[in-house]
Amino acid sequence: MNAPEGLDIRAPIGGLFTLLGLMLAGYGLVGADRAASGTNINLWWGVVMVLFGLVMLFLSRRSMSAPREG
């Protein structure tokens, strides 16, 4: 499913979301900013984004190591 040459878009998406997720979750752990309801949304949403990023990275790695068709 990856482009024949160049770049599999899932790799940069995975990288970006993992990094942004880590930044948000880290900020949620040390910072005092909360949603109005008191939820530590930075921490929770950061974790969700890291998980999504890792899935994307995993998918791009798997298709890279898979043998080419044809």
């Binding site: 990856n2 482009a3 160049g6 770049l7 940069p12 930044m23 900020y27 949603a35 949304i41």
Partner: protein, 584 residues
């Protein structure tokens, strides 16, 4: 543009934006070495898988104006705004995927105007290409202007800096990596928009007491605004008559005007979206592109309309501390309508939700999502413009027969030129608001008849170039005449219509827009048929691959059923009927 900004950003918010900008530029640089021919640059080498083109298809359409505008409409009309998606997009997306893509992808056309050249003649193509090129420039300029103004108001950023900086980033990644870069970044932007807005809906619903709490609050708001209870939370209630629903349109005008003419005219003929599908790696992938896009499109109302509805629930009955601020008159006092109710600045519904519900950190992510939607919309316009300019105007009228390297170079030049023109348009929009209203009106007249031309071209082999050309012209004139003879209720003659005299008054501006489109389409359809019947048709042999009855039907029997375009379309139809029943 002075006054204090509504909020300030923390370091973490800037850091998130910076990481995003680095990522989109990185994608552009990584793709630079792959751009060797004009096909790589304009058509992404026809190498992309369907899920990538499908998400780009939806993302190119999801500009900032869509995100902000749909939130505003959610606050104005409630859940009925989802008609713009469920009636006004999905059926046309299914149609273009199943029936029209075989001709766009299967013919040798490299753009939508070029299809018109192959099917009809040069003049029809040039008419379409020229109006399309002008339109993309102005729509990207208008959204650039809106974005600069919004960030100035929210964050106090300088209008010039935000316009020039975002234009520079889009310029860099499109010039480097062409359509592939635009499409890859659109996929990235798609996920960013989803991840930026989903928690907004979650926190918002939480703060109004869930769906039940939202319904109760919006029922009260409906009564306050003089509408029956449930008007904001039911999409079809009161649609039998224009006066009993918040949109002010009856069901026939809605289904024919929005659901048929405007929606099919946009999704089936606009090169901005069709270009994404044409970049797919195979005919099946091209056909699946709009069908895959239909799935997220179906649930986007919950992402972009719900924030507006929640904002309304947090405004009505909250006095001056409400979520949506009042629209201000020139002297700075809040505007009040004839019934004594405060007029709300609906365009601020979604931005205020971001600012008030998100803490530092998430706010950076939400605003980055807004910037991403702005950039994907702009890149969509720019890539469509550089292709139509290079292939349909430059190669066919100015310099035919040059080398492929020359056209690749021209594509990069056109990207720079297109962005410079958009910036100019953004400043024109800032200085002459009326000119922009007028231009958007003219575009509406030019676009409305388009689908009649494509429909007859693809499904009636007897239709001729003269018929198509005259049909398009008279459709546009028909739209102008209808608009010039009607007015929405309460408006004065001028840019809102009525400049040729007044024969009918519509209950709302949307009703007038929808009926203008219906008139334009019908005029074009009838004139094309009449002129075609008295002019010389092209022989069948020249029309193979361009007309339905003379083209071999695509076979997808050998595909697993889940990958067949028709079965995807069936799943979408079942889901869309279900959604309409749930929110009837």
């Amino acid at each position: 543009m002075e006054g204090n900004p509504i909020t300030h950003l923390a370091g973490i918010d800037y850091a998130i934006m910076a990481v995003y900008f680095a990522a989109v530029l990185g994608v552009g640089f990584a793709l630079k070495r792959v751009m060797r021919t004009s096909t790589d640059f304009f058509l992404a080498g026809k190498t992309l898988p369907a899920w990538v083109t499908g998400l780009a298809f939806i993302s190119a359409n999801l500009g900032a104006q869509e995100v902000i505008g749909m939130g505003a409409s959610g606050a104005k009309y409630g859940i009925a705004t989802s008609h713009f998606y469920w009636i006004g997009a999905i059926p046309a997306m299914l149609f273009v995927g199943i029936f029209m893509m075989p001709f766009y992808y299967g013919s040798r056309a490299r753009s939508v105007p070029e299809y018109l050249k192959l099917r009809f003649d040069e003049k029809t193509r040039t008419l379409n290409a020229a109006s399309f090129a002008v339109m993309t420039i102005f729509s990207s300029g208008i959204s650039m202007y809106a974005m600069g103004k919004l960030f100035n108001l929210l964050l106090g950023w300088s209008f010039n800096t935000s316009v020039l900086a975002s234009a520079a980033i889009v310029l860099a990644y499109v010039t480097l990596g062409g359509l592939t870069s635009a499409i890859y970044n659109e996929v990235l932007q798609f996920f960013l928009i989803v991840f930026g807005f989903a928690p907004l809906v979650g926190l918002g619903l939480n703060s109004v007491g869930g769906w039940a709490g939202l319904t109760a609050k919006l029922n009260a708001a409906a009564v306050t605004n003089g509408l029956p209870e449930g008007s904001y939370t039911h999409a079809w209630r009161g649609m039998t008559h224009a006066s009993t629903n918040p949109i002010g349109v009856e069901w026939f005008g809605l289904v024919m005007g929005l659901g048929f003419v405007l929606s099919f005219g946009y999704w089936c003929t606009d090169f901005l979206v069709v270009q994404r599908a044409m970049a797919a790696d195979s005919m099946t992938a091209a056909r699946r592109t709009p069908l895959i896009a239909a799935f997220p499109k179906m649930v986007f109302p919950f992402l972009v309309i719900l924030p507006g509805m929640i904002a309304l629930a947090l405004t009505v009955g909250h006095g001056a501390g409400g979520m949506i601020p009042a629209k201000l008159a020139a002297n700075g006092a809040p505007l009040v309508d004839a019934a004594g109710r405060t007029v709300l600045d609906f365009d601020l519904a979604t931005p205020m939700m971001l600012v008030k519900l998100f803490p530092a950190g998430m706010l950076g992510l939400g605003l980055t999502a807004l910037l991403a939607s702005f950039m994907s919309g702009m890149a969509g316009n720019v890539t469509a413009f550089n292709t139509v300019w290079t292939y349909d105007i430059y190669q066919s009228h100015i310099k035919p027969g040059a080398t492929d390297q020359h056209y690749l170079w021209m594509g990069r030049v056109a990207t720079v030129g297109g962005i410079l023109l958009s910036i100019a348009a953004a400043y024109v929009a800032g200085s002459f608001n009326n000119i922009m209203d007028l231009l958007q009106l003219v575009f509406a007249f030019v676009n409305a008849p388009l689908f009649a031309t494509f429909f007859l071209g693809m499904f009636w082999k007897r239709s001729t170039g003269h018929g198509a050309f005259l049909g398009l012209l008279s459709g546009t004139i028909g739209a102008a005449v209808h608009h010039g003879l009607t007015l929405p209720i309460g408006a004065t003659p001028g840019v809102k219509g009525g400049y040729f005299g007044l024969v009918h008054t519509y209950p709302s501006e949307l009703a007038q827009t929808f009926w203008t489109a219906i008139v334009a389409w019908t005029t074009c359809f009838v004139v094309t048929i009449i002129v075609s019947l008295v002019t010389q048709p092209r022989p069948d042999a020249e029309l193979t691959g361009l007309v339905y009855s003379l083209t071999e039907k695509p076979k997808d029997r050998d595909l697993p059923w889940i990958k067949r375009p028709t079965s995807l379309a069936l799943i979408v139809i079942v889901l869309i009927v279900g959604l309409n029943l749930i929110f009837r």
